[in-house]
């Protein structure tokens, strides 16, 4: 066990009946960093969280959180973690405030202190107006925020966020991202599972990709993108132009493919700002007329296609919702 790691998993495996939910997964997260565990529904992300948060015992392998063994020292681990579940772990019949006070008291805060902390968190997560309303009537975004607030009652040094933005609208998602980033500036270590590559990209220091219970890749977002392959620039011209391929090639990180009788040009490009403008300018300079220009970012599908060498099956589509992970 490495002293600098707040979370460490060593060859953890878990089987549910016929399904190998996790297959000898090794992972570590350094103190004060965010690891994003990326994978489609059913990849084993939630099983990993359940093992590390003491809810499930691994069949084999060992894991430590904040230096404590998750099986042998489960009670000690529970004092160090905050957990935000995939399906919100809130009491629907209680108000937001009552939920937070309950969690506070059960976490060994005195009643007055638990109440004070609840007020603080309701403010921090912009839930003051809904504080005394029953959670059943909360919107999806509000539930997630309250759920996150509940896991922060004790300012735990290690946080597990299991798909904190799945099913949220874009505004609520951005809001969650801002709040998650602030947690790390406060020194917390985060384990964040997600199905969204952009989320992992936006938040994580390191990304681990899992599929069918196996760890298939890990690294910084940059390393992974390099492994996945760059983005694709796709240009459609109004009429074929002899110099177009050369103009694009200057910006590309690979060779240019020409299709559609010289009308459509595709080339891999490195991700950088102002790429589309540069391409347009280069094409304009040579007098090529552009109908359309698009940059395709690598999607989760591309990640899997690249890492596993297999095209993703329809049930692994990142838009698919509602399949148990």
């Amino acid at each position: 066990m490495n002293k600098n790691n707040m979370i460490e998993a060593e060859a953890i495996s878990k089987r549910y009946g016929e399904t190998q939910a996790l297959d000898r997964v090794d992972l570590e997260v350094a103190a004060g960093t965010i690891l994003s565990v990326l994978g489609p529904n059913g990849a084993g992300k939630t099983t990993g969280v359940r093992i590390l948060t003491t809810l499930t015992k691994p069949d084999s392998g060992r894991a430590w959180v904040a230096g404590h063994d998750v099986v042998a020292e489960a009670a000690a681990v529970r004092r160090k973690i905050g957990v935000t579940g995939q399906d919100a772990t809130l009491d629907d019949a209680l108000t937001g405030r009552q939920n937070l006070v309950m969690v506070g008291e059960l976490s060994r805060l005195r009643r007055a202190e638990a109440k004070r902390r609840a007020v603080e968190l309701l403010g921090l997560f912009e839930l003051e107006d809904a504080a005394d309303r029953i959670v059943k009537g909360y919107s999806g975004g509000m539930r997630r925020r309250l759920d996150l607030a509940a896991s922060l009652v004790m300012r735990p040094p290690v946080l597990f966020l299991d798909e904190p933005t799945t099913g949220l609208d874009p505004t609520s998602r951005r809001r969650m991202w801002t709040m998650i980033r602030e947690l790390v500036t406060d020194g917390a270590t985060l384990w964040l599972t997600t199905q969204y590559l952009d989320e992992a990209d936006a938040l994580a220091d390191r990304i681990a990709v899992i599929d069918h219970g196996r760890l298939i890749a890990q690294g910084t977002p940059l390393e992974l993108k390099a492994a996945i392959g760059s983005q694709l620039l796709e240009v459609t011209l109004a009429s074929p132009h002899a110099g177009a391929a050369e103009a694009i090639e200057a910006l590309a990180s690979g060779s240019v493919h020409i299709t559609g009788g010289g009308l459509r040009l595709r080339a891999p490009v490195a991700s950088e700002h102002g790429l589309v403008i540069s391409a347009l300018r280069a094409l304009d300079e040579i007098g090529a007329q552009v109908d359309d220009i698009v940059v395709h970012r690598p999607s989760l599908d591309d990640v899997f296609a690249t890492l596993t060498g297999v095209a993703p099956s329809p049930d692994q589509d990142e838009e698919t919702e509602g399949v148990a992970a």
């Binding site: 948060t53 003491t54 809810l55 499930t56 015992k57 904040a66 230096g67 404590h68 020292e73 009670a75 000690a76 529970r78 004092r79 160090k80 973690i81 957990v83 579940g85 399906d87 919100a88 772990t89 809130l90 009491d91 629907d92 019949a93 209680l94 009552q98 309950m102 969690v103 008291e105 059960l106 976490s107 060994r108 029953i134 509940a150 004790m154 300012r155 735990p156 040094p157 406060d186 020194g187 917390a188």
Partner: protein, 283 residues
């Protein structure tokens, strides 16, 4: 942040006294949470408020008019202890359903990742259900008094009767908790519990003296713990108690039998519930 990271040594310094205090806090919080649930949906309480009133009126005014109490006395006076026990027994169903519902929701996952005492979830449930049992008893007694039930004993004796009824009801709550933990869903919990509840509540002396039953059924009824508690309550309330003439041990020593049954059920069920809870939550 760093000041929040306690070393293992700090954790172990929690004294026994502190641990006991934390346990009481956990139980209080869980009980309070269950009470809030009831306040949110007061109809959950219908089986300890409306049902006791209806059953009391039904038995006293409809069935009671055709009943003759063996050994003499008014049916109203005979029926009350029986109605008390029947209502307390059937309302214990709520424990199994409540616990099973808790396990079916995401709340349990949050609770299990907190450094709270896991048994507090079970004890909190048992105490909020004890509160429901007290409400249930009050409704039976008030309805009884309104329709003419009169105890004929000292205050201490009457209080002892209610104490015994509530003790048994509390023990039964734990037995129901076990069934709730065994059930796969709240719906199946309801089904399983009803299967136990009906013979327990009705194959007994609650509505009619067991002397009139076929011999084999009378034997079962006389050894039914509900009969012992009902018989004890009738004696302690100073009401007609035909069971006192039956020569089986629990009917001859109904107070002692009630205590023994309650303690045995309590010890077995609390132990079993702890094991079942751990098994259920350790997938």
């Amino acid at each position: 942040m760093t000041e929040m990271i306690a070393t293992p040594a700090e954790l172990d310094t929690a004294t026994a006294l502190e641990r006991v205090r934390s346990w009481f806090t956990d139980v209080r919080v869980m009980t309070w949470r269950n009470v809030l649930h009831i306040r949110r949906e007061p109809m959950q309480l219908s089986d300890v408020t409306i049902q006791p009133v209806l059953f009391t009126l039904l038995f006293i005014y409809i069935f009671g008019t055709a009943m003759v109490v063996r050994g003499g006395g008014s049916y109203k006076d005979f029926a009350l202890a029986g109605l008390l026990m029947m209502n307390l027994t059937t309302s214990a169903v709520g424990t199994a359903i409540g616990l099973s519902s808790d396990l079916a929701t995401g709340v349990i996952n949050r609770l299990r990742t907190l450094p709270m005492s896991p048994t507090a979830i079970l004890f909190g449930r048992s105490f909020s259900d004890l509160l429901a049992a007290i409400i249930c008893s009050s409704f039976v007694v008030l309805t009884g008094l309104a329709v003419g039930w009169r105890p004929d004993a000292g205050a201490a004796s009457i209080a002892a009767g209610f104490g015994l009824a509530l003790l048994f009801s509390y023990a039964l709550t734990w037995a129901m908790a076990c069934l709730g933990l065994l059930a796969a869903s709240p719906e199946s919990a309801q089904g399983i519990v009803m299967l136990f509840m009906f013979p327990l509540a009705f194959v007994s002396n609650v509505f009619a003296a067991t002397q009139g039953m076929p011999a084999w059924l009378a034997t079962i009824a006389n050894w039914n713990p509900v009969s012992a508690v009902t018989s004890a309550c009738r004696s302690l309330f100073g009401n007609p108690n035909p069971s006192s003439t039956i020569h089986t041990w629990p009917m001859q020593h109904s107070v002692m039998a009630s205590l023994v049954w309650s303690v045995v059920i309590l010890v077995v069920s609390v132990t079993a519930a702890g094991h079942l809870y751990r098994h259920r939550t350790n997938s």
